[in-house]
Amino acid sequence: MMPGEVVSVRDLSKTYGGKASTIEKLLGRKPRGLKAVRGVSFSIDRGEVLGFVGESGCGKSTLARLIAGLMAPSEGEIVFNGKKPRLQMVFQDPFSSLNGRWRVRDIIAEPIRTHKLRKPSEIPGRVAELLEQVGLSAADGMKFPQGFSGGQRQRISIARALAGEPDFLILDEPTSALDVSVQAQILNLLRDLQSRLGLTSLFITHNLSVVRLMADRIGVMYLGELVELAPAHDIFTDPKHPYTRLLIDAAPDLDPIDRTLHPIPGELPDPSRPPSGCSFRTRCPYAQPLCAEQAPPLRKGNGREIRCHFDLQPQSLSVPE
């Protein structure tokens, strides 16, 4: 673990299911588990925002939950710098992440009370301060979450996270459920807090534009694996992994003149039976026989990591299938 790092993750794997019933054991059958996260390693520096993108089901949330300690990894470890840091998380669904039976002020005060961060008498003041920090009014504390829109709820979520004075903040798709206009508000709020509080965070999303806006470094996940990890700028200007490239192209931009679409061919394989060798080979336009035989190693260099046998050349970028 390097000195500036807040958290370092090594060879993290998580398998869902896979427990055999007594009879299955007797019959010697092994049920197939679902490996949601497979051998992921990375670390996050203090004050850094690490972004993660990938398609639905690629294991992003699983990763977030593992790091948050909500479940135990099947393999690998998560090492924090020094004692276990205070951690907070903001979730995707603004409706399920707030307890509808609690008043907003109690929701926000819960981390403060649990960690005894303030004297009881100071709590109301602190809650009001946090509410204002996320753009709500102190009076909103008296209401129940039902009285708020999705965007406002996400603000409450953020206020709750901040209330815990986290050393490390996990944001799992904090804006995916929101409208663009509200998303923009939340993203701006987060950026603002980032710069003011110097938060270290893990930012998970499936929206490339959003991660590009928010993150310093970006990891791209495919079928539970980290296929590419690089500084945000490099990922977009010079993607090295074919999947990254295709993903960037697949999102329609706002240009009504060039109407070409760039779908990624094929479909996400069943995560419980990932393909042999390179997991992306079934959809990769550049796949070679080698890709089916050998799992590509993680290659590092230039502050980047890539899990591919080959280097993607700029001229091959526009090669259609």
Partner: protein, 323 residues
């Protein structure tokens, strides 16, 4: 699938063993069979002899094992009250109760399914509200009141149906059935209706709630958006989705049906297991009570297992992948 079934059966067996242990403890705790068996003027020597003959001087566990051993060999002991073989008593009474339950199920289906569909499809219609109200009355009027009223009207006043018994029965290799004779059918109508009132309420409500829920689902909206007829939508697209919970509920209700058959049978002097149980309870006939309870538990488990195994027929989502 097969593995799952085997697993369930094994679990069921364990559960049955537990039931039989409880039932056995009933025998031992429900007091002193000696007091019931011996004439009051028996001497101490006679008493001790009987205790030894019944193995009552042995440890409970050992007695339990020989009890289970006896059951496995088909020896269920004798009734204190009638001194008959408990196994054959239960088997003799089984057909009556089974047919009553079956016909009442039939009545339920014939009446409650259309009513439930109507209520689910048009929850606000006056008919639906009326059905809902009467269905509440179905579980409100105690079963015995329903039975007595039906007898007063249909047997005494109108003379359409007999007020008691099973009519004439036909013996088919040990199974006596009343379903092959006209008088048998006449006799089963009133008790079956009485027993059905209770289940009907549940089926109507279940179907209604389910259909109301399904009716609001996206796939029904989509079916409507594709121009399918309402009949097709409700009777093919919606009902299949509402069926599973209803069938499950009916399976789980079986215990209640068995219990309420006690009341119904007692009112109609229906010669089934329910009357037998009631007579046995009143006479503290513990061997019969114990075996009855085990039997009821076993039937319940088996039927619910069958219900569960039938799920994939109703809902393909419940097919196990590794079938």
């Amino acid at each position: 699938m097969i593995i799952h079934a085997i697993e369930r059966i094994l679990q069921t067996l364990v559960v049955l063993l537990v039931i039989s242990f409880i039932a056995f403890m009933l025998i031992t705790t429900l007091g002193d069979p000696i007091g019931l068996l011996l004439p009051p003027d028996a001497t101490m020597a006679e008493r001790n002899a009987l205790i030894a003959r019944l193995n009552l001087d042995q440890p409970v566990m050992q007695r339990f094992l020989s009890f289970v051993g006896g059951i496995l060999q088909g020896d269920f002991g004798l009734s204190y009250r009638t001194q008959q073989d408990v196994g054959s008593m239960i088997l003799e009474r089984l057909p009556a109760t089974a047919e009553l339950a079956l016909v009442s199920l039939l009545v339920t289906i014939v009446v409650a399914v259309p009513a439930g569909i109507l209520c689910g499809v048009k929850p606000k219609a006056l008919v639906s509200r009326a059905i809902m109200f009467f269905s509440i009355a179905g579980i409100t009027l105690p079963n015995f009141v329903v039975g007595i009223l039906l007898i007063a009207i249909f047997s005494v006043q109108l003379g359409w149906f007999p007020s008691f018994g099973r009519g004439s029965t036909v013996n088919l290799g040990g199974w006596t059935t009343g379903l092959l004779t006209a008088s048998g059918w006449q006799a089963i109508i009133l008790p079956a209706i009485t027993l059905a009132t209770f289940q009907m309420t549940f089926v109507i409500r279940m179907l209604r709630t389910q259909l109301m829920e399904v009716g609001q689902s996206e796939h029904i909206r989509f079916a409507r958006a594709r121009g399918l007829s309402e009949t097709r939508i409700w009777f093919v697209y919606a009902i299949r989705n509402a069926l599973l919970p209803t069938v499950t509920m009916l399976g789980l209700q079986l215990g209640n049906i068995i219990a309420f058959s006690v009341v119904t049978e007692s009112v109609f002097a229906w010669p089934g297991l329910g009357s037998l149980f009631l007579q046995s309870v009143q006479a503290a006939d513990i061997p019969v009570i114990a075996i009855y309870l085990i039997f009821v538990g076993a039937v319940y488990m088996v039927i619910n297992l069958l219900v569960e195994l039938s799920y994939p027929l109703i809902d393909p989502r419940l097919k196990r992948r590794n079938a």
